[in-house]
């Protein structure tokens, strides 16, 4: 299957997520317990993805050090600056540097 239809289906799924609690099932109609749990969607999904990325990189000798460098530097920059753009650019910069050195 060509990648573009796959990405398009991912985009449609994403649109459904955006629409769900705004238009389809307005959030104020949800049970309180569910609304309490929703606040953890971000940390749960993002932590699972970060851990998976690290786990996959650990399986490849060539990518483990640049990935670890990106993780450590991005974690520190994010904690200090809380700036997404700076975190990405900093993580990429350190990762590139390590990939050249190792």
């Amino acid at each position: 299957m060509s990648p573009i239809p796959v990405l398009l289906l991912g985009a449609l799924g994403t649109y459904a997520l955006r629409l769900l609690f705004i238009t389809l099932v307005p959030a104020h109609l949800l049970p309180q317990r569910l609304r309490d749990t929703l606040q953890f969607v971000g940390p749960a999904a993002l932590a699972a993805l970060v851990a998976t990325d690290i786990g996959h990189a650990a399986g490849h000798a060539a990518s483990i050090w640049p990935t670890l460098a990106a993780v450590v530097s991005a974690g520190v920059i994010a904690a200090v600056s809380k700036n997404l753009g700076l975190t990405i650019v900093g993580g990429l910069g350190v990762s590139l540097l390590v990939s050249v050195l190792v």
Binding site: I4, L7, T14, H28, A47
Partner: protein
């Protein structure tokens, strides 16, 4: 952005600039748009480099051209796009790629729930089109600075979302254009991880969020052998259950005391 009501105020003798200067109603209407444009340009300083990286990665995977760019604009979520690219590069099944994109964007549910009160009194067209512009940056900016009235918020949200979308898509196009001349061994996939961390770390503001993240992370490592996408979904569910249980316990204790 000019409504029918606004256009009815324009006489043939007046230029648009004159009206903008003289008509207080138009001046008030233009304010949210001007504010949104300024906010959007500030956001783009941080977003453009990542957009270029997304475009470069797309070109390395040979996902280029108008259709690819249109899909990127519709997806309007760089982190999930990078995660999807990583799955495609690893040769994962289409369903795993789609699941990964949707899982990465699952936090948009939370943003939608939090912003719903700003959309509640709005016309249906806006409740259908407006959510397309819901990303981390527009959510954070609109909740902090968005105007209070429905009409002003509508103008602000559309101007903010569209300006960021144009800048974002242009940066991806730039990346696609320069991608072929870059070396192929760049560790660009680390950018996706850095972006995820940039989104995760500021959310770890209390014990419950931290516990949720730790449980999800440990579960994700334990589930690495599972088919792509399903391990992440399972891990995120484990984290959500842990966070939900702690939140429930805390609210029970609060009610008892």
């Amino acid at each position: 952005m000019t409504s029918t009501t606004d256009l009815a105020l324009i006489s043939p003798e007046q230029s648009a600039a004159d009206i903008a200067d003289e008509d207080p109603r138009r001046r008030r209407a233009a304010r949210p748009i001007r504010l949104a444009t300024t906010d959007a340009l500030t956001l783009l300083i941080g977003m453009v480099p990542f957009g270029v990286v997304v475009g470069v990665t797309a070109s390395l995977l040979e996902i280029t051209g108008p259709a690819a760019l249109g899909t990127s604009a519709f997806l309007y979520a760089g982190t999930s796009q990078m995660a999807g690219f990583a799955q495609l590069a690893a040769g994962s099944a289409p369903l795993a790629v789609i699941a990964t994109i949707v899982i990465v964007n699952a936090r948009l549910l939370l943003y939608g729930a939090a912003l719903e009160n700003r959309f509640r009194g709005q016309p249906l067209w806006f409740r259908l089109i407006g959510p397309m512009m819901l990303i981390d940056q527009t959510f954070a900016t609109a909740t902090a600075k968005g105007p209070d009235t429905d009409r002003a918020f509508r103008r602000y949200w559309l101007a903010l979302g569209l300006t960021v979308l144009v800048g974002w898509t242009s940066s991806i196009a730039t990346g696609m254009f320069i991608g072929p001349v870059l070396p192929t061994d760049l560790p660009l996939d680390a950018t996706g991880t850095a972006c995820l961390l940039g989104l995760l770390v500021p959310r770890l503001t209390d014990r419950r969020a931290l516990l949720t993240a730790v449980v999800a992370g440990v579960a994700a490592v334990a589930g690495l052998a599972l088919p792509a996408g399903s391990g992440i979904l399972l891990a995120a569910t484990c984290g959500l259950i842990a966070g939900g249980l702690v939140a429930r316990k805390a609210s029970t204790q609060k009610a008892a005391s």
